[in-house]
Amino acid sequence: MKKTALALCMLLVLAKAGLAQKYFTKNGTVSFEAGTALEDIIATNKTAASVLDAATGQIEFAVLIKGFEFRRALMQEHFNENYMESSKYPKAVFKGKIVNLTPALFQKPGNYPVTVKGVLEIHGVKKEITTSGSLAISGTTVQALAKFPVTIADYKIAIPGIVSDKIAKTAMVSVNCNYAVLK
C-alpha cells in the first residue's frame, strides 16, 4: 500500500514536471492595422508578455498600450490620449484557453492549428472572443501565431465623426510570440 501510494505520488510529480511545463515570453509581438484607403494606421508592440500552460492549455497575454509604436508620433499620441486613454487603461489583457490542446502535443515537434477561446479586455471593456491560430513546437521553444479582428466599437472606443472615414471599424490584430520554458 505504502509503495503504491509512493509510486503514484512520484508518477504525479514526474507528470507535473514533464507535462505541466509552462512557457513564457516578455517580448512577444502584437501589431494591428486599422487603416483605410485614406490613411495607413499600423502599430507594433514588441513587449507583449504571455504565459502558456502546457498542462491546461491556459494562455494569457498582457500588452502595454503605450508600447505600441506608430510611424507618426502624433498618431501615437492620439492613440494613447484620445482613443485608448492609456493612462486610465494601461493594458490590454487576454485570458483564455487553447480548446483543442492535448498536453502530449508539446512532446512532439511540429506545427499545430489551434483554437483559442477567452476574454479580451481592451479599454476597460471585457469581451469574449474565439480565434484560430497555430503553435509551432520545436524542442523547448514554442511559437504562437494568430490573427483576429477586433471591432473598435465593441470596446467603447469613441471615434469622432471628423476622422471616422480614416479609421477602420475593425482592427486586424496579429500576434507572434516565441516562448521559452518558464522555470
Partner: protein, 297 residues
C-alpha cells in the same frame, strides 16, 4: 501512512492548483518604467516652448498670427486690421531633440533654436523622474535696415540669444504645469535703461477641458534687465483645439513677439490698460522619412 498521504497531497496540490493561478503574475516583474506623454498638446505653451516634443522625423509647419490691440476699437476692427506673423518650421531629429527656424514680420527677424530633453517624466521602475527637464537655446537675427543715424551697425548688433531650462510635470490627465527660467542676451538694446542681459521666469499651465480642447496660460515674469515702466510681463491665455493633424491655439495676449527674445524683451502693452490682442498659432505636422511600417516585422 497519514504522513505519506499528506506529502502526496502536498506534491499533487500544485498540479491541481496550477489551473487556477493567474499565469501572468508569473512573468509580471511589475514596476515597468513608462514615460508620461502629452503634457501639452503642442510644442509651445502659447508663446514659450513647452516640455512637449513633436517626435522623430516630424516636420511641424507653424503659422503664427498676432493681431492689433482690441482696445484700438471698431476703427481698427478691434485689431484685426493689422497682424504680425511668424512662419516657422520645426523638425524632430529624435524623440528628444528638435530644431527649428522661423521668420517674424516684426523687425524682419529670423530665428532658430535647438531643444533637447535629457529627462522625461515617467512612472514606475527605477529612476523614474517625476518631472521632465528640457533645455532650449536659440538665436535671433533682425534683418531690418538700421536707421540712417544708427551708431552700431555691425552684424553682431543684429543678434540676440536666449537659453532656458524648462521643468514641467503632468500632474493629472487634465493638468500640467511647467516653470522655465530663461536668460536672454541682446547684443544691442534700444536704450540705456535696458541691460544687455535679461532674466525671466516663465510659467505655463494647461487644463484639459475635453479630449480635444484645453485651456492654456503662458506667463513670463521678467526678473531683471528691463525698464519696468516701459516693458510689461507677457501674459497669454487661450485654448488649444486639436483636429486630427492640426492644432489650433487661439489666445489673447499683450505680447506680439513670437520667439523667446521678442516676447520677453519687447512687450510694452499692458493687460491692465486693455491692450490685449487676439492671436493664433496654427500647427500642422508631416511625418517625413520611410513610409513602410510592416506589422510583425
Amino acid at each position: 501512512m497519514k504522513f505519506l498521504t499528506t506529502i502526496c497531497l502536498l506534491l499533487i496540490a500544485p498540479v491541481i492548483w496550477a489551473q487556477e493561478a493567474d499565469l501572468l503574475s508569473l512573468v509580471d516583474s511589475g514596476g515597468q518604467k513608462e514615460y508620461v506623454t502629452g503634457a501639452f498638446k503642442s510644442s509651445r505653451v502659447i508663446n514659450g516652448h513647452s516640455v512637449e516634443f513633436i517626435g522623430k522625423n516630424v516636420l511641424d509647419v507653424r503659422i503664427l498670427h498676432r493681431f492689433g490691440r482690441i482696445s484700438d476699437g471698431i476703427g481698427e476692427f478691434f485689431g484685426l486690421d493689422q497682424a504680425a506673423m511668424r512662419m516657422g518650421f520645426d523638425y524632430g531629429l529624435g524623440k528628444n531633440l528638435t530644431i527649428g527656424v522661423g521668420r517674424s514680420t516684426a523687425e524682419k527677424e529670423l530665428d532658430g533654436f535647438i531643444k533637447y530633453r535629457p529627462i522625461q517624466q515617467a512612472t514606475g521602475g527605477k529612476g523614474a523622474s517625476p518631472v521632465s527637464v528640457v533645455l532650449a537655446a536659440g538665436a535671433a537675427l533682425t534683418t531690418q535696415k538700421f536707421a540712417a543715424d544708427a551708431k552700431f551697425t555691425d552684424t553682431k548688433h543684429r543678434m540676440a540669444y536666449y537659453s532656458e531650462v524648462i521643468i514641467g510635470r503632468k500632474f493629472t490627465e487634465a493638468f500640467s504645469l511647467q516653470v522655465s527660467p530663461t536668460y536672454v542676451h541682446r547684443n544691442l538694446v534700444a536704450s540705456q535703461t535696458d541691460d544687455n542681459d535679461t532674466y525671466a521666469v516663465g510659467i505655463g499651465g494647461r487644463l484639459k477641458l475635453s479630449k480635444r480642447v484645453a485651456f492654456v496660460a503662458d506667463y513670463h515674469y521678467v526678473v531683471s534687465g528691463l525698464n519696468k515702466d516701459l516693458y510689461k510681463n507677457p501674459l497669454s491665455l487661450g485654448f488649444d483645439i486639436e483636429t486630427g493633424g492640426h492644432v489650433f491655439q487661439l489666445h489673447f495676449s499683450n505680447a506680439t513677439g513670437m520667439n523667446e527674445k521678442a516676447f520677453i524683451t519687447n512687450t510694452t502693452d499692458s493687460w491692465g490698460s486693455g491692450e490685449i490682442r487676439f492671436g493664433f498659432n496654427l500647427s500642422r505636422v508631416f511625418t517625413i522619412g520611410k513610409k513602410k511600417n510592416t506589422p510583425g516585422s
